[in-house]
């Protein structure tokens, strides 16, 4: 094959490869879709309301949430009460002692 003829032949080969790639890209998904369509889901015999489905085993969240918040409140209030009680006891003793000192008693 002469020089110009070979160049034309190479161009034809490149065009053929390009056309092949384009066909694969375009037809590929269609082929997949066709494959999917080849296995249709079985037709429904009846409609079932969602309320009639089996209950799914699931842990309720509300008791856990309430338990968490109740614990936080109890812990903080309990701690505040404990400081208040200790402070009250110390201040009472302090007051009694300083009163005795002022009175000059034992």
């Amino acid at each position: 094959m002469s020089g110009p003829g070979r160049a034309v032949w190479r161009k034809v080969q490149r065009l053929a490869v390009l056309a092949g790639v384009l066909l694969a890209v375009l037809i590929g998904p269609l082929g997949g879709a066709a494959g999917a369509m080849a296995q249709p889901t079985p037709p429904q015999d009846e409609f079932v309301p969602i309320s009639e489905l089996e209950p799914v085993e699931e842990l309720p969240a509300a008791p856990l949430l309430i338990a968490a918040y109740v614990f936080v409140w109890l812990a903080l209030l309990g701690y505040l009460w404990s400081i208040w009680r200790r402070l009250g006891s110390v201040e009472r003793e302090l007051h009694q002692l300083s009163r005795r000192d002022r009175a000059g008693g034992p």
């Binding site: 856990l64 936080v72 400081i83 110390v90 302090l94 000192d101």
Partner: protein
Amino acid sequence: MTRRLFAPMLAVAAVMFAIAPVLIARAPYESTMGLVQKIFYFHVPAGIVMFAAALVCGISSALFLARGRLEHDRRALAAGELTVIFGTIMLVTGPLWARKAWGVWWQWEARLTSTLVLTLIFVAYLLLRRYGGPGSERLGAVLAVFGMVNVPFVYWSVNVWRTMHPRTTVVPTLDPSMRPAFWWCMVAFFVLFGGLLTLRVRLEEQRAALDRLWLAREEAEVRS
């Protein structure tokens, strides 16, 4: 001035805690965890306050070791107690959340284990201060500094190790609809922390005043 700050701080915290459930109820459900994710609004602020309390305890202890002033020791003791309180809140609310979100109460993973260890260090600090006898305040101060050093490890553990716990990026990237409830609770917890810390320091000051009074009486009896 700071001695009397606890009353207004606790009053503000009480009002904020009363309003918090309304804001939390208004916040939307998280897409994967649903209702139980709302534990987040108390769990995370309690955790951040626990870190703050541990830092206050550690820094005050370091100042006490360096300068020997008793006011630093009193603040350290008060903050140490608050670290255990807020650590316990975190360690109880976390498993309640995990039971629903992960299907288990507890996992021996980096964040949970390191938080437990941090809380136990401060429990040890309190036990040492309670039963350690004379001189335990300096040993306790060293332990508190050791505990404080753990805080950054606990905070970054979720980013460094592979863990089930949500990462630290959750808070900065929080959805705008969830932010009001979260930041409200965060401020409420910090105001409460300030009030409790001030009140607890006052208790230590009054105890010290009582000790001084007893000591003065004994000295007077010895002289007479």
